[in-house]
């Protein structure tokens, strides 16, 4: 009887122990499913989200669900799924759900109705009260050149991260920063789709959730209310005094200015005045009235006035390009002169030529370019950033700079200390970026190497959205094998005969030793 009892006791303790351990295992796995990390062991970090995306997604304070309306058979499905998994791993507020429209008909139809979709093959980023729809066609670049030979389109680039991060920013931000582009001086136009237009830049900044407007200072001599930054993009006619005053007042009040100034060369070979010289010199920046030449960094088939820049200053705007070692192309620039020590001015040189470059001031004899004694010697700065504010770059501030906005924001917060900024305080937060070139942002140039990143980074830095400094392009390791027939045969010899043969020889050796 006692033996039976003992056995019963033993077996129940045993079962309880086993069940307890199983429950523990299930719990551990549940926690691991909920809280996990993904590490990327590739040398070029292909499967790692860029710093920008990580900042954006980890700062989410409301849940966003990505609903993928795609069949697993779609060519982009794997890429989209893998990428969105990375976002989900980076934040608890980001989740992912796949709806296969071919198999989950009812669920797909319900969601189509809810999201008011006109077709499938899309990804919906659903933020509850608001959502963004990403078309799968917007996620990739294709090369159609093989079509004539009967081949299908070939995927040349996957832009998923830029597009998704842009959409998440859009959802997370309640207010879009307002950027106004001046008009009336022959500037480059946002609505011009030609090679000299800015439609690509408009799309790029739109993706980063900027609100872009045009402003004609001559007819409306005050910067529009709520403006965060003014962009002067390649004027060909000078500004007049009241216009400059409006801009100066805006900047002095803590506003942000991006001046993209191509040299305005007249027929006589002189450089015409932009009208902005006095304003810029207040901040210590002078325009060189020359064209910059850099024979050491030429672009093949272009004149020496078109060159690439790989000398970047240490600055948040250029840091990603420096790290990724991606140059930018500058077609026809004028040099910039700093009126003092950069530190005292709060200035940083963003781009400069190689030491072999110079600013060619003899513009009448451009057929025979040669460095003269009066020419500015290299390295010649072609882009300068000025930050009059507290230069704590690490602080990610969402509050844009203009007075109106600062007041609006502080009203909401009820913070009396910042409710009425003094003129000094306001100016202390001004930021300016001056480029001696405007062409690099045109449709014809924006897609080249690092130009788009440079443009997006500049505008994001101006409005203090350092967390949106652009994603540097990645260079995945491409492996192309092209073994000849002989080489294939020797590989075959190795894998079919040599390696298994060695194993058998080793086995025979062991066998004969044991027999002895």
């Amino acid at each position: 009887m006692t033996e039976k009892r003992n056995r019963w006791l033993e077996s129940s303790t045993f079962s309880a122990g086993v069940l307890l351990v199983l429950a523990l295992v299930v719990m551990v796995n549940y926690l691991s499913w909920k809280y996990y990390k993904r590490f990327d062991w590739t040398s070029s970090k292909i499967y790692t989200l860029s710093e920008k995306s990580r900042n954006v997604v980890s700062a989410l304070d409301k849940p966003i669900e990505a609903v993928v309306f795609m069949s697993p058979g779609e060519p982009l499905f794997d890429k989209v799924h893998e990428l969105l998994t990375r976002y989900a791993a980076a934040s608890e507020n980001f989740s992912l759900r796949v709806v296969d429209p071919e198999k989950n008909l009812a669920e797909a139809q319900a969601l189509v109705n809810r999201f008011e979709l006109s077709h499938l093959d899309v990804i919906v980023l659903d933020g509850g009260d608001d959502r963004r729809v990403v078309e799968s066609a917007d996620l990739a670049d294709y090369d159609y050149s093989g079509l004539q030979a009967g081949l299908g389109p070939e995927l040349t680039g996957f832009k998923g991260e830029q597009v998704f991060t842009g959409a998440i920013v859009d959802l997370a931000e309640s207010r879009k920063p307002k950027i106004v582009f001046t008009t009336g001086h022959g500037e480059l136009r946002l609505d011009d789709p030609s090679a000299r237009g800015l439609t690509e830049l408009e799309a790029l900044l739109g993706r980063d959730n900027f609100d872009l407007e045009e402003w004609a200072p001559l007819s409306e001599p005050k910067v529009p209310a709520g403006t965060d930054a003014v962009v002067i993009a390649g004027p060909t006619v000078g500004f007049v005094a009241p216009e400059v005053e409006a801009i100066a007042e805006f900047v002095a009040g803590g506003g942000r200015l991006l001046a993209l100034l191509d040299p305005m060369i007249s027929a006589s070979g002189a450089v015409a005045s932009t009208g902005l010289e006095a304003l810029l010199s207040d901040y210590g920046v002078g325009l060189g009235a020359d064209i910059v030449i850099d024979p050491r960094n030429p672009i093949p088939f272009f004149g020496a006035e078109t060159f690439f820049v790989s000398e970047f200053g240490e600055h948040p705007v250029t840091r990603p390009l420096r790290q990724a070692d991606v140059p930018v192309i500058v077609p026809l620039a004028q040099s910039l002169l700093l009126a003092g020590e950069p530190d005292e001015l709060g200035a940083s040189v963003l781009l400069e030529t190689s030491p072999a470059g110079w600013g060619e001031s003899d513009l009448e004899n451009l057929e025979a370019i040669e460095k003269g004694d009066d020419d500015v010697a290299g390295p010649v700065p072609v882009a300068v950033a000025i930050d009059l504010g507290d230069t704590s770059d690490d602080e990610v501030a969402a509050t844009p700079g203009s007075n109106e906005v600062a007041e609006e924001a502080s009203d909401g917060e009820g913070d009396p200390a910042t409710a009425e900024p003094t003129a000094d305080d306001a100016e202390a937060s001004s930021r300016l970026v001056v480029f001696g070139d405007a062409d690099f942002v045109t449709n014809g140039q924006l897609r080249n190497v690092g130009n788009a990143e440079l443009a997006a980074n500049t505008v994001n830095w101006l409005v203090e959205r350092e967390n949106l400094i652009a994603i540097p392009p990645k260079k995945p390791e491409q492996v192309r094998l092209s073994l000849s027939g002989d080489e294939l045969r020797s590989v075959g010899l190795l894998v079919f005969l040599v390696l298994p043969g060695l194993a058998l020889v080793a086995g025979a050796a062991v066998y004969s030793r044991r027999r002895r």
Partner: protein, 246 residues
């Protein structure tokens, strides 16, 4: 401790001094060599897309899983069932050694042998490095995945071997545990319920190896392998313990 080391030593000798082990090694190399050679020939075709040969090699062909599903039962079938058949298990159980030491010693010997079986495939990476460039990070994570999946499979084999005195039944039982474990995850693509999809996705070994081969190391995979291994080994020790008091 010394009892554990003695078991480990005894089992390692049993593996490496058996001619059968080298036949298994040669067979494995032949199958893997064939897979590798296919991949290299395919990618050397100028019309083929640019691909990563080693990424394809690690788990993205069905051969990989076939080898794994058939090989692990063979490696572990003998471990405990043979002791039971020959009666040496009684000696072992009365010796001053715990069930955990026995199971761990035998398991680690099997794992060591498994690693040795895969080691020669490093030569394939060498071949690729000779004709092209190799990113060694994903190669390392690929092997991490192979060891991870292998450690679970071998632990299942140890449990099966503890359950029966017949080697053949042990091998079949291992196979019966492994096949559902492997196919379970594949159901991810067949179910519609979101929660079920995620749960199956968590167990989807094919997807796991896909990630490892690309160079992605996911903490979820490692936790799964470690906990599944620990569970199987724990159950194996309990099985031995049951025998003790029965």
């Amino acid at each position: 401790m010394s009892a554990f080391l003695a078991t480990l030593d005894r089992e390692l000798r049993a593996y490496f001094l058996s001619p059968l082990a080298y036949i298994v090694l040669a067979a494995l190399l032949l199958v893997n060599g064939f897979v590798f050679w296919l991949i290299v020939s395919f990618l050397s075709d100028p019309r083929a897309a640019v691909g990563a040969p080693l990424e394809l090699f690690f788990g993205q062909t069905f051969f990989f899983w076939l080898v794994l599903l058939f090989m692990t039962p063979v490696l572990t079938m003998r471990l405990l069932s043979e002791e039971r058949r020959s009666g040496t298990i009684e000696v072992l159980m009365t010796a001053p050694i715990t069930e955990t030491q026995v199971v761990l010693g035998k398991y680690l010997a099997a794992l060591a042998f498994y690693v040795v079986l895969w080691a020669p495939t490093l030569a394939y990476a060498g071949v690729i490095a000779r004709y092209s460039s190799v990113d060694w990070g994903p190669v390392a994570s690929g092997y991490l995945g192979i060891i991870g999946v292998g450690s679970v499979f071998l632990a299942a084999g140890v449990l099966a071997s503890a359950l029966t005195r017949s080697q053949l039944i042990a091998a079949l039982l291992t196979f019966v545990i492994l096949v559902p474990m492997f196919t379970f995850g594949l159901l991810e693509n067949l179910v519609n319920n979101e929660l079920a999809k995620q749960a199956f996705g968590y167990l989807n070994l094919w997807q796991h190896m896909d990630d490892f081969a690309k160079g992605i190391v996911d903490s979820r995979r490692l936790v799964y392998y470690l906990s599944a291994t620990a569970t199987f080994l724990f159950l194996a020790t309990r099985t031995l313990a049951v025998r003790k008091w029965r």
